[in-house]
């Protein structure tokens, strides 16, 4: 079993215009994209959004194949959505085979849903691909800050995210180590039915949880030993700053969203 090639929140470092944008600009852009994708109805609109996304990928100098590969984990959901829409929409029948009927409306709807999902996945993945986790959490913290008065623990949330991201590789490594140790005792993680496989995970999960709790304790103590007291009065080494490119980017994004959203 290989865990190393997991691609959750993968970041591709770079120095392109997109990489240099303030993370808050990119978070805003992603939010606009999501809104836009649900506002747009019609293939011309989707085409324009697709072009815009392609433009960003080009600007960010991201490898195309890598971006497309991000769709793979969601392929099942994608196929299911398209399939259900194609086969279950009522309307003008254009094809019938046994119990399967395809209607003109279904085809259009399935195509739309599929396109919407693909654009959604690819578009939002651009955020994590071009923004380092640290920048991303800094951006989220800064955006949540105004809501602190309403009791949103902005700094704490951001810190939790940072720590969670930081510990993904550590936990994967730990998992591999424990698996090896249990395999040395004759454990078998691969064969057997569903129940048996689930049961065979106990010798893996129990030590993993124990070690995660131990790590959490140790980390908390280490942070306190270094004077961590939450967000109060904490200054930043990397300050977020809106630059001119951010102003240009936001202007473009908002104009694009309004124009496409209203007209298509």
């Amino acid at each position: 079993m290989r865990f190393r090639n997991l691609t959750i929140g993968q970041h591709i470092p770079g120095n392109s215009v997109v990489h240099r944008l303030d993370p808050r600009t990119k978070i805003l852009g992603t939010t606009l994209l999501i809104v836009l994708l649900f506002a747009v109805n019609g293939f011309i609109g989707y085409g324009l959004v697709a072009l815009a996304i392609a433009g960003v990928i080009h600007l960010a100098k991201l490898p195309w194949r890598y971006v497309i590969r991000g769709l793979r984990p969601l392929l099942v959901i994608l196929l299911l959505t398209v399939g259900l829409n194609v086969f279950l929409t009522e309307g003008e029948v254009i094809f019938r085979l046994w119990f399967l009927t395809i209607t003109r409306e279904g085809l259009a709807r399935g195509g739309m849903m599929g396109t919407r999902l693909v654009l959604l996945i690819v578009g939002t993945s651009l955020l994590t691909l071009t923004t380092s986790p640290i920048q991303l959490t800094d951006g989220i913290e800064s955006l949540l800050n105004p809501f602190r008065r309403l009791g949103v623990p902005a700094h704490e949330l951001a810190m939790m995210m940072t720590i969670a991201l930081r510990f993904i590789p550590t936990l994967l490594e730990e998992t591999e180590k424990i698996m090896k140790a249990q395999m040395a005792r004759g454990a078998d993680f691969q064969s057997g039915g569903l129940m048996q496989r689930a049961k065979s995970l106990i010798p893996l999960l129990v030590p993993l949880f124990v070690s995660a709790f131990r790590r959490a304790d140790e980390l908390a103590i280490a942070m306190e030993a270094r004077g961590y007291r939450g967000g109060q009065g904490r200054t930043k080494f990397r300050e977020l700053r809106f630059g001119r490119i951010d102003a240009v980017a936001i202007a473009l994004l908002v104009t694009f969203t309004v124009v496409v959203g209203v007209f298509f």
Binding site: K180, A184, G186, P203, V206, P207
Partner: protein, 268 residues
């Protein structure tokens, strides 16, 4: 980025040997021992255990892993059972043994590591002390009754008494049951005292291979690798450099004492 963790390693370990493996951090010790029971397979080359080729696709690696028991670093981190009996019995149960046989093996395995079966069997392993956890974890491997036992720094993080006891127990197992022991350690004192043969790893290769006396004669090479000599051996080297007529092939305090007394003319 790929690195070659092991390169050009040719080794034969005979039945009943007590072998020590030392080497600086990152020299490939842990990678090497994981090849001995098929947890890792070489990208090129072969590994044989009792005449069975581990790299062959029909080889039942689970059977090999019963024969070659492996105690990882900090083995107590792999404890999971609700009771000591369940945890130590995990290996034997995976072998498909009958429950009575499993219990019997757990009893024996706990005895090897100096723990009392009746007292501990129903306790949670998580409530034990650090040293006891370590022993329970080692017992979990011993319960499969392997003919080869590999231990990766079994005494790391234990107090001196715990270290001593665990090493003594391993020694007893080797002596009385004749099992082959492969011990990875950073302690020159431990290897000097215990092993018949010492393998020194460096950057994925075998740098030195011989009896402890032979290996420790290569003081220069060992120092270059960032390793040292056992303290008594170091002492003998220094005495000799100061002009005392002592033999430097000394690995234990007792032998050193005898050697110094002899050099002083026989009187204490």
């Amino acid at each position: 980025m790929e690195t070659e963790a092991l390169l050009d390693v040719t080794l034969e370990i005979a039945d009943g040997e007590f072998v020590g493996i030392i080497g600086p951090t990152g020299s490939g010790k842990s990678t090497l021992i994981q090849h001995f029971n098929g947890l890792l397979l070489p990208s090129s080359g072969k590994v044989w255990v009792d005449g069975v080729d581990l790299t062959h696709k029909d080889t039942q690696l689970r059977q090999i892993r019963q024969k070659v028991g492996m105690v990882f670093q900090y083995p107590e981190h792999q404890l999971f059972g609700e009771t000591v009996l369940e945890d130590v019995g995990f290996g034997p149960r995976n072998m498909g043994l009958a429950e009575e046989e499993v219990v019997e093996r757990v009893r024996r395995a706990l005895a090897y590591v100096g723990l009392d079966f009746a007292e501990l069997k129903d306790q949670s392993p998580f409530e034990l002390s650090g040293g006891q956890k370590r022993r329970v974890a080692i017992a979990g491997v011993l319960a499969m009754e392997p003919s080869v036992l590999i231990l990766d720094e079994p005494t790391a993080g234990l107090d001196p008494k715990g270290r001593e006891e665990i090493l003594d127990e391993i020694c007893t197992l080797h002596r009385e049951r004749g099992i082959t022991v492969i011990l990875v350690t950073h302690s020159m004192e431990d290897v000097a005292r215990l092993v018949d043969r010492l393998i020194v790893m460096d950057r994925g290769r075998v740098a030195l291979d011989g009896t402890p006396v032979e290996v420790f004669r290569q003081a220069e090479t060992l120092k270059e690798l960032g390793l040292g000599l056992p303290q008594v051996t170091e002492l003998m080297h220094e005495l000799k450099a100061k002009g005392m007529a002592v033999d430097t092939d000394v690995l234990t305090v007792e032998a050193a004492e005898e050697e110094i007394v002899k050099a002083l003319g026989g009187q204490r």
